[in-house]
Symmetry: C2
Subunit: 448 residues, 2 copies
């Protein structure tokens, strides 16, 4: 137990796996400690008794997520196009309308307004230096207001506000008043631009992984599986005499370095000796996780396609879910409808019992796609805020004042400890691609 390892990696999500892979390939002696009994972190492919599956966590990849495509190729994992044909549905002011493409059928003023708001957000985001958002010319101003304050100021019709809000809530996984405008702009730039973040074609939702996202996590883990210790939540990290001792119930490992690759809100549940620097502990109090639940109806076939529907819906605050997608498998052997339930809607929906949730969900599915939707083969929902080892999804949220007051504190190494996790990436922050890049960057810090 007291053999000196090169690196201990805490957390077996994509970031920890990417770090472990990088170090293992350089013949470093590693161990990866994972609190759960599986790898994948905020990605999780749930298999149903009849062999069908749904990705209850992160499920898409898209253009410029280069490391994800490279990892798929390296590990013989294949991807396929997200279904994106037919009519979309807009559920606005309790009325349903159908449309094709990104822009719904609405009054011209609202349409122009939506276009103006999205383009303006993209234009402002371009001015953010990704490696130092706090140095943008207007950073102080943007970091003193929430995204909501800015959006409300620039939406001149209430319909515009409702649509923009549902879209942006799906992007950030929070109410718009829960995130700093500066962070919102950083996030857009980090993921290319807002059109990319909102789109299937040429966007962040373009491709899915055949067999589910966890297939890739497991493929990455395979070469160093014997170095992964599951069900091992870390309780203490002690730096002493140029080594780090990482321990929990029934285990204790020594190493030259440690990489922490867990969500920011979980870091303060580890006791660090010596204590982490003041800026780090203060920052960690400030970040909260977004809240998103995924709600699935699994059907014999994707019946909505025959009716000319894409499976996509955008719904205002009268509906229980913000956005819907066709989430069927590569071969369309069965049909999967996926609804995103986010922020206040998620807190209300997941405060109810499963029976009540199922009823609400199937009513929503039926309202949009017809009575076939009321009788799925399976109903599945999953709220990431309920997971003790994630405490939310997609990612950590920066409220006002944090980027400007704390700058790059989150990613900065602290003596022998290096920091990974998607929240430490300036490219594709909050996405799996960001997690992978952060893990590889933390590994390189140690290798160099």
């Amino acid at each position: 137990m007291t053999d000196l390892l090169d690196v201990i990696i805490v957390g077996g999500g994509f970031s920890g796996l990417a770090a472990a892979k990088t170090l293992h390939s350089q013949n470093k002696k590693i161990i990866l400690l994972e609190a759960r009994s599986r790898v994948g972190g905020r990605t999780h492919t749930r298999h149903l008794p009849d062999g069908k599956y749904v990705d209850v966590g992160g499920q898409w990849i898209g253009p410029t997520q280069d490391r994800m495509y490279e990892l798929c190729q390296e590990h013989d994992v294949t991807w396929y196009e997200t279904y994106n044909q037919g009519k979309n549905i807009l559920d606005l002011n309790k009325t349903l309308r159908t449309y094709t493409g990104l822009i719904p059928k609405m009054d011209v003023r609202s349409l122009i307004n939506i276009d103006f708001v999205l383009k303006k957000l993209d234009r402002l985001a371009k001015s953010i230096p990704l490696d130092k958002p706090w140095s943008a010319a207007n950073s102080k101003t943007w970091d003193s207001i929430s995204l909501e304050a800015w959006v409300r100021k620039h939406c001149f019709t209430s319909d515009c506000f409702k649509i923009v809000r549902a879209g942006l809530e799906t992007v950030y996984a929070c109410e718009l008043n829960e995130v700093s405008m500066l962070h919102a702009l950083f996030y857009i730039k980090s993921g290319t631009n807002l059109t990319c973040l909102l789109s299937i074609d040429k966007g962040a939702q373009q491709h899915r992984i055949k067999g589910g996202m966890q297939t890739l996590a497991e493929a990455i883990a395979t070469p160093f599986l014997s170095h992964i210790k599951f069900d091992s939540p870390v309780k203490n990290i002690l730096q002493q005499d140029n080594r780090v001792i990482v321990s929990g119930e029934g285990f204790s490992y020594h190493a030259r370095n440690v990489i922490i690759a867990i969500p920011p809100v979980l870091i303060s549940s580890i006791a660090f000796t010596p204590a982490l620097p003041l800026f780090k502990t203060q920052l960690l109090q400030k970040l909260s996780m977004g809240i998103v639940g995924k709600v699935f109806g699994i059907y014999e076939k994707p019946f909505w396609r025959e009716k000319g529907f894409s499976g996509q819906v955008v719904a205002d605050e009268h509906a229980p879910f913000q956005t819907f997608f066709d989430s069927s498998p590569a071969d369309s052997a069965y049909g999967v409808l996926l609804a995103f339930c986010i922020a206040d809607r998620a807190r209300n929906f997941f405060s109810q019992e499963e029976g009540a949730r199922k009823k609400i969900a199937l009513e929503a599915f039926s309202k949009y796609f017809g009575k076939e939707a009321a009788t799925p083969l399976h109903y599945v929902d999953h709220c990431w805020a309920d997971e003790a080892w994630s405490r939310g999804c997609y990612a950590g949220l920066y409220p006002t004042g944090v980027w400007t007051n704390f700058q790059n504190t989150l990613a900065k190494p602290t003596d022998l400890i290096h920091w990974a996790g998607t929240e430490t990436s300036d490219i594709w922050y909050g996405y799996i691609e960001g997690a992978v890049r952060a893990g590889e960057r933390a590994a390189r810090e140690i290798l160099n």
Copy 2:
């Protein structure tokens, strides 16, 4: 160990003590579990080897803090007037000026502007319903911006902004962009008004406790001292069969009810079974603690008084500390200068070694009060963010979006668990008075 108690109180700060006192006086079987080896929580009187003392935590009481005066009377604890005579100092743009009263000597535009901003904040605060800040007419707007956004918009001179900022940072213990405008207004109303919060005469800094604030905490605890278990951080709270089992290393107690009276940021370090409701766990991720350090020079006598100084300073961001007070004991047997070091200034100051801190502090003291200040009998500083069982001071901060999205979630009972702590009080939120009222309210919830 498995005797059924009536109530277990977690936390021996003023809120837990007030709850325990209320229940004990009604002959309830209680136990109070405290992580530290002392009572008092965020109040702490530090005794020096020569018998002198300083209050490194909360130290003042003032008008409308009725319960605090009543507790002092009941327990034969006396109070005295905070020293408030002579010239104050303003350190602005690296220039020192002296003045008397609340309003510094400055250009007329800035003076009018300061008056306008403070009065306007007071006027807006009046519109906040203390028991439901989220229902104020402008709550959505105020909860979408930080206090900083509002203050910057209403300060027309940079000198006005600098003074207002130093004053408000001292009130909230954070950078102004770290707190929601709605929370800032609630806080003002909760503590009467801004003049009261900023003042010694007829204000929140009017009186001090003879012998230090902890004298009162200890006096309250005396009658039920045998029911307090020290050095007992709670790890698990299990609700089962109409009872609650509260346990930690080496202890386990059963009771009909529990009162949690610890800072919000510490609550998530307890494992609750069943898990706390989603709204509660989400809210707890959102709150952070303010950061304040107190910096003391202890001298043979309050020598600055003879020179005509009050000991009070307000300093802009060029100086290491925001505000200074004469913090000498009741009989003026020795002199104590106190500087408040808050938010970014605290994070920078307390990131340095003690030797460097002492040098910076004594230079500041000397700059304002002369060379006698350079050679104190003792130098003491204390940062509350470094205390594992507080993690900051004065109180929990609501960033944007929390009051409107979560409403009264923090104080709401969850089955057999009741919630105290100054952050659950709508009167004198963040102050010791609020802590006492919250503890008594939680006890009454159980008694009724």
